[in-house]
Amino acid sequence: VLPFGRKLDEKLIEEMEETLLSADLGPKTAVKLMDQVRLAFKEKRITTTDECYAFLKSWLKDLMRDDGAKLRRAESGPTVILVAGVNGAGKTTSIAKLAHRLSRGGASVILAAADTFRAAAVDQLALWSERIGCRIIRQPTGADPAAVAFDAAEAAVARKADFLVVDTAGRLHTQANLMKELEKIKRVIEKRIPGAPHEVILVLDATCGQNAITQAQEFGKILPVTGLFLTKLDGTAKGGAVIGIRDQVKVPVKFIGLGEKPEDIEDFDAEAFVEGLFG
């Protein structure tokens, strides 16, 4: 943390740049930001460390604040939320958190265990559905994930569920066949429920570095990603890669994960997030 009330100089500006780099903003975004600071400094628009902080925080908060950051709702019928992301990012746990929050709010939620690949993935979501008290649509491991998604969409309509949340297997955007599979899952949902999925959440691990930007770009090519769920912010990673994502890919962060329990979810708060980068 830079000393407050000090006259700005190139050395302090470099230290500030290092703070941004350490938060995973990445050199492109950090340098872009700090070059603006350097210009403002040269033009005497900012002269102290406080002014530098204020300048950066306001720039970042403006970038990260998004009115679209509320959960979308279907005009009628079930709201379908499709969840995707790379392996181990926290999809299944984040779905449990979303389901918990929605059902606590009085909504009826159905979960679709469309990860039919990984060992015990269906069991993992099933245990969560039991704990949270919502219905789960499942088939044995090895089944076609699109078939599970279809069954779940049918069930959601038949039971007049408020929400259907679809869990998918972790996959790397470099695996073309798996990205095709994800596209198929989306198409199948769309066919059964016009307008669905209403929300496509990409789950990102806050410990992830610059590859998070590639993930957002590549998943965004095959799915209409509407929001990010940034997990594991209870650790020491700052999740600054989402700034690069907001800047380059324009997807807003909607939720953050702050632990492994169902209640460890919060709406994304740009103010708190940006303050945390400098904390």
């Binding site: 990012a89 099933a126 650790g235």
Partner: protein, 291 residues
């Protein structure tokens, strides 16, 4: 990427006959950018650049050798040196079962890697016992048991017993039933969770592992140093396994983790299937980080 910046590097030295403080400094700015793009931690990148600078300026001027080529060679050499040994072997117990403890952050790939390691060692003719010591994640025990069934490898699991005790009992069972290898799967945990860090340290204390492997995701960013350092302080780490290298993350975390712990990267995960475990090749990793 660095191979592109290697071209720029070489160009910077055109018409120059030797490496000077100034032209080296300039060139290294590009290298630093590339390393940061590759997720190498800030301090690690800084130390590496300093090493390269010292090595480059300390070089005797060789007649006729293009200084651009010289500095490129210094960079690749220093990086390969820093990445550590090629295919560092797993430690084997002198007598009794070899105990391997897998630790790391949530979602890094520990459980899957337990399966991969068991698969590899079984193919080498070893009698492996995997231990389901993650008692907090829903269906974690099931997950390891499914892997055990697929591999036809025994899995030790017990309900209502804390992880250090499960592991200690599993090692006793291994001795009685002549398993020569025990692989302990532990729960993902944050390095800042004191209770859980104490728990995994207790697992190590109760089982005296011959190998304590930090399982680390190849896409980890700047935080790699913070978490690796903390695990290294609480556990007698003997090595690192870097997972998900089948993705396109540059993997700078490899350099960061090696630099801060000094422990060798022994294996890399190259996919979800249980045969996707490779030994570590530092030269390949260096080239990948450099882009």
């Amino acid at each position: 990427s660095l191979s592109a910046s290697f071209q720029n590097l070489a160009r910077r030295f055109q018409g120059k006959d030797k490496l000077t403080e100034d032209n080296v400094q300039e060139a290294l700015r590009d290298v630093r950018m590339a390393l940061l793009e590759a997720d190498v931690q800030l301090g690690v990148a800084r130390d590496f650049i300093q090493r390269v600078k010292d090595a480059a300026l300390g070089q005797a001027v060789v007649k006729g050798v293009d200084p651009g080529q010289m500095i490129i060679k210094v960079i690749s050499d220093e990086l390969a040196k820093l990445m550590g040994p090629e295919a560092a072997p797993l430690v084997r117990a002198e007598r009794g079962p070899t105990v391997i403890l897998m630790a790391g952050l949530q979602g890094a790939g520990k459980t899957t890697t337990c399966g991969k390691l068991a698969n590899r060692l079984k193919k080498e003719g070893r009698k492996v016992l995997m231990v389901a010591a993650d008692l907090q994640r829903p269906a974690a025990v099931d997950q390891l048991q499914v892997l055990g069934r697929d591999l036809e490898v025994a899995v030790h699991a017990e309900k209502g017993v804390a992880p250090p005790e499960v592991c200690a009992r599993a090692v006793d069972r291994a001795k009685r039933e002549n398993f020569d290898t025990v692989i302990l799967d532990t729960a993902g945990r944050l390095h800042i969770d004191d209770a859980l860090m104490t728990e995994v340290a207790e697992v190590a204390r109760r089982t005296s592992p011959h190998e304590v492997l930090l399982v680390c995701d190849a896409m980890t960013g700047q935080d790699a140093v913070t978490s690796a350092k903390a695990f290294d302080e609480r556990l007698p780490l003997t090595g690192v396994i870097l997972t998900k290298l089948d993705g396109d993350a540059r993997g700078g975390a490899a350099l960061s983790v090696k630099a801060v712990t000094g422990k060798p990267i022994k294996f890399v995960g190259q996919g979800e299937k249980l045969d996707k475990l490779d030994v570590f090749y530092p030269q390949r990793m260096a080239e990948r980080i450099l882009g």
